[in-house]
């Protein structure tokens, strides 16, 4: 069971082969979310966590928000992919507010990071020239539990042995280019393979 956040993470569903038989959960109360319905086929009472129309696959089920977050906090969600504002060297994620500027609220993000078995952050490596991979998050944390993996348009970063490690680079991106836009101390192994797309 996989929960995808709004934004870049939503795109993940487009790349999952049906043979994997993944159940996608939407925290507003659905397991078995399907693609955006065709024009004229949307149902006003079938929506994603952003309130946009979606479809439900055969075998889908619906439930209330207490059940939905019981699934999330209870460790029944295998993977969540979330957006991020900052991730730091210890794997801490900040993704719910910029004090004084933007206070959207945490929605389900804090529960997802606390409860999902594996937490993956999918975000841009930098915003307006400023690295989002920082030594220590300046923004309020989403959880004290560190994330497992960060995927950006430039790199895949893991935390094996508690050390922020460059695992892969995007095609055509050099290690030096990644380091130039990474504020955090990033461990670079002897060989860094290229992402397989």
């Amino acid at each position: 069971m996989v929960n995808l956040g709004i934004g870049i993470p939503t795109l993940v569903a487009n790349y999952v082969p049906p043979s994997l038989k993944v159940f996608f959960q939407s925290e507003n109360g659905l397991i078995g979310t399907g693609p955006i319905p065709e024009q004229g086929m949307a149902h006003p009472l079938l929506t994603d966590a952003g309130g946009r129309p979606i479809s439900a696959l055969p075998g889908a089920c619906t439930f209330d928000s207490a059940m939905s977050f019981g699934l999330i906090r209870g460790g029944h969600v295998n993977v969540t992919v979330l957006g991020g504002l900052q991730v730091d060297a210890e794997g801490h994620l900040a993704n719910w507010m910029i004090p004084g500027k933007m206070v959207p609220g945490m929605g389900g993000a804090m529960d997802l990071v606390s409860g999902a078995k594996r937490v993956i952050v999918a975000m841009q490596h930098a915003a307006k020239g400023k690295s989002k991979i920082v030594q220590k998050c300046a923004l309020p944390l989403t959880s004290s539990r560190p994330v497992d993996l960060v995927v950006t348009e430039m790199a895949v970063i893991g935390f094996s042995g508690g050390k922020m490690t460059l695992q892969e680079t995007a095609p055509g991106v050099t290690v030096a280019e990644v380091m130039a836009v990474t504020e955090a101390d990033l461990f670079i192994p002897a060989s860094v393979p290229e992402m397989k797309l």
């Binding site: 939407s26 925290e27 507003n28 109360g29 659905l30 149902h43 006003p44 009472l45 079938l46 929506t47 966590a49 952003g50 309130g51 439900a56 619906t62 439930f63 209330d64 928000s65 207490a66 939905s68 977050f69 999330i72 906090r73 933007m102 206070v103 959207p104 609220g105 945490m106 929605g107 389900g108 993000a109 804090m110 529960d111 606390s114 409860g115 309020p140 944390l141 989403t142 959880s143 004290s144």
Partner: protein
Amino acid sequence: MKAVSAEEAVALIPNGATVMVGGFMGVGTPERLLDELVRQRKSELTIISNDAAVPGQGVGKLFDAALVAALTASHIGLNPNVQKQMMANKVAVDLVPQGTLVERIRAGGCGLGGVLTPTGVGTMVEEGKRRIELDGKSFLLETALRSDFALIHAFLADYLGNLTYALTARNFNPVMAMAADTVIVTAEHIVPVGVIAPDHVVTPAPLVDYLIANG
């Protein structure tokens, strides 16, 4: 359960009441009751809902009309009016993680004093709360939430007030229907007793105080 008009039901709600409103981004929200709250200009409300929806929709309408003094919700990011009213100190916003919010309401409806959750430990959410260590894990003590009124939207209601919900319009509705002194319900369809099979009733009739007749 008593069948009444939206006008009669909303007339029961005083200014300054604490009101839970079902729905998730306006989906599964009792729109007719919100329209009536605006028409009767019920003000200084304390609203408990998952989110602030968007202007013109769901609880968003209450903020358009500046009727809300305080909001407890998990997400307000898609309603710029609420952000503005919060920054101007016109609305006191208490942001609560979504899973914590629904569980606090569930606790309120089930006679519990609160819940212990790992969500929020070591974040801003922990401020002012008790941290409790159990079996080597850290939890926050989150207190129960109740309200004077819950405004609920169901898919089917039978003549007794048994309710079912549709698809993602269920969300907070059945949980809030447990946690308020007075429960007011709108339904897409009102059907004879027996149409909803016993196994399919989600909210039992004794929880419903008022059902809004469909016009």
